[in-house]
């Protein structure tokens, strides 16, 4: 432990590390905040520029971009209802309504502090417990992933709001959208209509931008009243004590869920982490009806979880050399370009580098905390731009962002299509969240079920008898049964009171 401390201290003493991490963090926040440009894109585009730098500095910059990017997405989610990155999709649900009420500053300060806490705790977990966590994570395989996906899908019932049938339709539609592409086990094309662009399925980003951002623009255009501007209440920088008392438990839950989702190797990232945390939070809340209307817990859950997945994803990357999500997969490439391979040998051969990375990860969090809080007022003032200009800017960014996903006009068409779909869904009061859940978890459920059955040659019992998957099944059962029991109890009590 002594050498670890001294290594960390020596890293903090190097000005280049501070400078490049700061640069990376600012770059990440800006790109993350621009609707349509995601953290993944920022890392992918900027990776080649870091090759010229010395390995530690180059990797420190990438860490800054990663962390800044995941945080930055929340800014446009709150201000413009467009998630800057998929990880912030669930922040829009409560962040934007809060901003519409005139509390944009409050929303931003809650999301900034939540991101900071979730992220920093996950980095500490990474530094202290990585080798242990990873051993547990390796015990997870397809049967467990299936159980987790079912748990997530079952929660659709709770996020559907009043019209359950609409929620189910939305969820099924999402699952259907997730099937478009190549079959995960046989590679056969499904619903691709001969279009090569659909062979890898629909991209999440254009759907998200269209569904949230463009649909809101269409919505605003439909409004005949003009100039209904709510003045933004710009108060304290930090969240109020009442808010903290409400959300500190959310921070704990969100962070743990986020770390865990990040650690699971594979394509599990911020989007899934924030989805799970948001769902879990809604289920344990005493006021679930507030979610979607500007509940601070909603923002806190989504943002603490999505930044916590960063630390989580870095666990398999650094300890095993295996990516925990798309961005860490890109980072393996960055390591290779510097002639380094992440994994167990890296700790032995190059401890200064590993501790250097830890140091810059910690620094990046403090940077975005300060920047985010200090800039909260300026960010909130963006909403005071005259509406027509703001809407035009949003449409521009939506279009550019969708194009940037694949350098292809096809995704602009997808974005426009989902803008219309989102607009219609809102008009008929069909909830959008179940569709997102279906889109994210549907493919995971399908491929993990089929792979599990293939692995264990059709032995269905395997799905239920393994300890970790059993845990999630019990959780699902509890989630479905307990509210019904409570309902029955409440009815009996009401009947008793009447008599």
């Amino acid at each position: 432990m002594e050498t670890a401390w001294s290594l960390l201290i020596s890293i903090f003493g190097r000005p280049e590390v501070w400078f490049y991490t700061l640069l990376g963090t600012i770059g990440g926040i800006v790109v993350g905040a621009i609707p349509g440009l995601t953290a993944t894109m920022a890392v992918a585009v900027l990776i080649p520029f870091t090759f010229r730098l010395e390995p530690l500095v180059g990797l420190a910059t990438l860490c800054g971009i990663y962390i800044g990017g995941i945080y930055g997405g929340s800014i446009s989610a709150v201000l413009w209802r467009i998630p800057g990155t998929p990880s912030s999709a669930f922040t829009t649900l409560d962040g934007y309504p809060m901003a519409v009420r005139g509390e944009a500053g409050r929303a931003i300060s809650i999301s900034t502090t939540s991101s900071f806490i979730g992220g920093l705790v996950s980095i500490i977990f990474l530094i202290v417990t990585a080798p242990f966590i990873v051993k547990v994570a390796l015990r997870f395989s397809e049967p467990e992933f299936f159980a987790i996906a079912v748990w997530g899908l079952a929660s659709v019932a709770d996020v559907s709001g009043k019209k359950l049938i609409y929620g189910l339709i939305s969820a099924v539609f999402g699952v259907f959208l997730g099937t478009i592409g190549l079959d995960p086990m046989t590679g056969a094309p499904r619903f691709t209509f001969g279009l090569e662009n659909l062979q890898s399925g629909l991209e999440f980003v254009p759907i998200m931008i269209g569904l949230f951002g463009l649909s809101e623009v269409l919505n605003e255009m439909g409004r005949t009243e003009t100039g209904q501007r709510v003045t933004q209440k710009i108060g304290n920088l930090l969240p109020t004590w009442e808010d903290v008392k409400r959300i500190w438990r959310t921070w704990v839950r969100g962070t743990l869920i986020g770390i865990w989702v990040g650690v699971l190797p594979g394509a599990t990232g911020g989007a899934m982490g924030s989805l799970m945390a948001y769902n879990a939070e809604k289920q344990v809340s005493k006021h679930p009806e507030e979610f979607g209307k500007g509940a601070p817990e909603g923002i806190a859950a989504s943002e603490s979880a999505n930044n916590a997945t960063v630390g989580g994803s870095l666990v398999p990357l650094l300890t095993l050399g295996i990516p925990g999500d798309t961005i860490t997969a890109l980072m393996i490439g960055a390591f290779m370009m510097h002639n380094l391979r992440p994994g167990p040998l890296l700790y032995e051969q190059n401890p200064q580098l590993v501790y250097g990375i830890y140091g810059s990860l910690i620094l990046a969090h403090f940077f975005f905390l300060i920047l985010g809080l200090a800039a909260a007022r300026t960010f909130a003032r963006v909403l005071n731009i005259p509406r027509p200009i703001l809407l035009a800017l949003i449409v521009t960014f939506c279009t550019l962002g969708s194009y940037a996903v694949s350098n292809d006009v096809f995704n602009i068409v997808i974005m426009a299509l989902f803008g219309i779909i989102g607009f219609i869904m809102e008009r008929i009061e069909m909830p959008v969240t179940p569709m997102l859940i279906g889109l994210v978890l549907g493919p995971m459920a399908e491929s993990s079920l089929r792979t599990a059955l293939k692995m264990y040659e059709g032995d269905v019992s395997v799905l239920f008898t393994r300890p970790f998957s059993l845990f999630f099944w019990v959780l699902t059962a509890a989630m479905l049964i307990i509210p019904r029991i409570q309902q029955v109890k409440a009815k009996r009590q009401a009947a008793a009171v009447k008599n």
């Binding site: 992918a44 395989s141 190549l182 062979q199 095993l320 050399g321 997969a329 002639n339 167990p344 692995m455």
Partner: protein, 324 residues
């Protein structure tokens, strides 16, 4: 007065005409490449193909005046990027770096394109799948593994469905008479390595560079490589040829240009890539990543693709992965 004016006009016209003539001369002296070259990578940023494109692209960029730009166009196992370049102007400014998927996409029904729709330039490296087990497993050699696999069914993870690694695994089972339950992994080699690490499968069939970290730290053992040469990451592991089995499942990476690109342009590109390939940086990089650096000039690459096209058709038919 008029004469003076006329003289001035005549002089300017002469100068202008001269400038145009000599300007044109100067332009035609500077030949290909006159502007930026775009290399399309049909796979994701940070992956194996992307990295090779960036390393070589960077080296070529330093050697020429214009820049070399890398663009990712993912989808369909490479089909999307390939289609894009097949439709580009055949002037040598748009190229694609493609794997041997160019010889499989038609047979698996993912694309109508084949090598015949392009002008191959050069091939620069290959990856080949290997049979890999955990170091602490009871199988110290391929013979041990084969013995167990003939007695009971063994669980083996591999790469994407319809891809070459899966074809390799299926061919191994068929040609060696092994009972293997082959589980494809949609996301490719890295998750397969995770499955092996967690003990959820008993072996994996993926290229060594997709499990490099664990091979280097001696947590994994390579039992056999499906290529004519041994792999730099596991120099003690025999090739399947040495083990007496015919298994050569190389995925060769090469640059291609749209059909109709002029021969001189292809030749210039061949020379540029040859210099880059021979550089210390590229060779060291290949060794570090555990990939096999090979060189095929234009003619060699064309004849390789011609035979590979039929060979992989037969392989895919044999393993039941072909749609036609």
């Amino acid at each position: 007065m008029m004469l003076k004016r006329f003289a001035i006009v005549l002089a300017s016209v002469a100068l202008l005409g001269g400038a145009l003539v000599f300007g044109g001369c100067a332009k035609s002296e500077k030949s290909f490449p006159k502007r930026d070259i775009t290399i399309v990578v049909p796979f994701g940023a940070g992956g194996g193909t992307d990295q090779v494109a960036r390393v070589l692209g960077d080296l070529v960029d330093k050697a020429i005046e214009p820049a070399v730009v890398i663009v990712n166009k993912t989808g369909g196992g490479g089909a999307v990027g390939l289609t894009e370049v097949s439709k580009a102007q055949p002037d040598g400014y748009t190229l694609v770096l493609m794997t041997s998927n160019i010889s499989t996409l038609k047979w698996t029904g993912h694309s109508k394109l084949t090598y015949k729709d392009f002008e191959p330039i050069v091939a620069v490296n290959y990856d080949a799948p290997a049979l890999i087990v955990k170091a602490d497993s009871p199988w110290k050699s391929y013979e041990d593994f084969a013995k167990t696999a003939k007695e009971r069914t063994m669980r083996v993870a591999t790469g994407a469905p319809g891809g070459l690694w899966q074809a390799g695994a299926l061919a191994l089972a068929k040609r060696a008479g092994l009972q293997l339950n082959i589980v494809p992994e949609e996301q490719g080699g890295a998750p397969a390595a995770v499955k092996l690490l967690g003990g959820h499968v008993e072996a994996i069939v993926v290229p060594p560079n997709e499990a490099a970290s664990q091979i280097e730290s001696k947590q994994f053992r390579v039992l056999g490589v499906m290529a004519p040469d041994r792999n730099p990451l596991a120099p003690d592991a025999p090739t399947f040829k040495e083990l007496g089995l015919d298994l050569d499942i190389r995925s060769v990476r090469g640059f291609l240009a749209p059909k109709g690109t002029p021969t001189e342009v292809i030749k210039t590109l061949e020379e540029l890539f040859k210099t880059a390939w021979n550089s210390k940086e590229y060779q060291a990089y290949m060794k570090k990543t555990g990939s096999n650096a090979i060189w095929m000039g234009t003619q060699e690459y064309i004849s390789h693709l011609t035979s590979e096209y039929e060979k992989y058709h037969a392989l895919l038919k044999e393993t039941g992965l072909a749609k036609e």
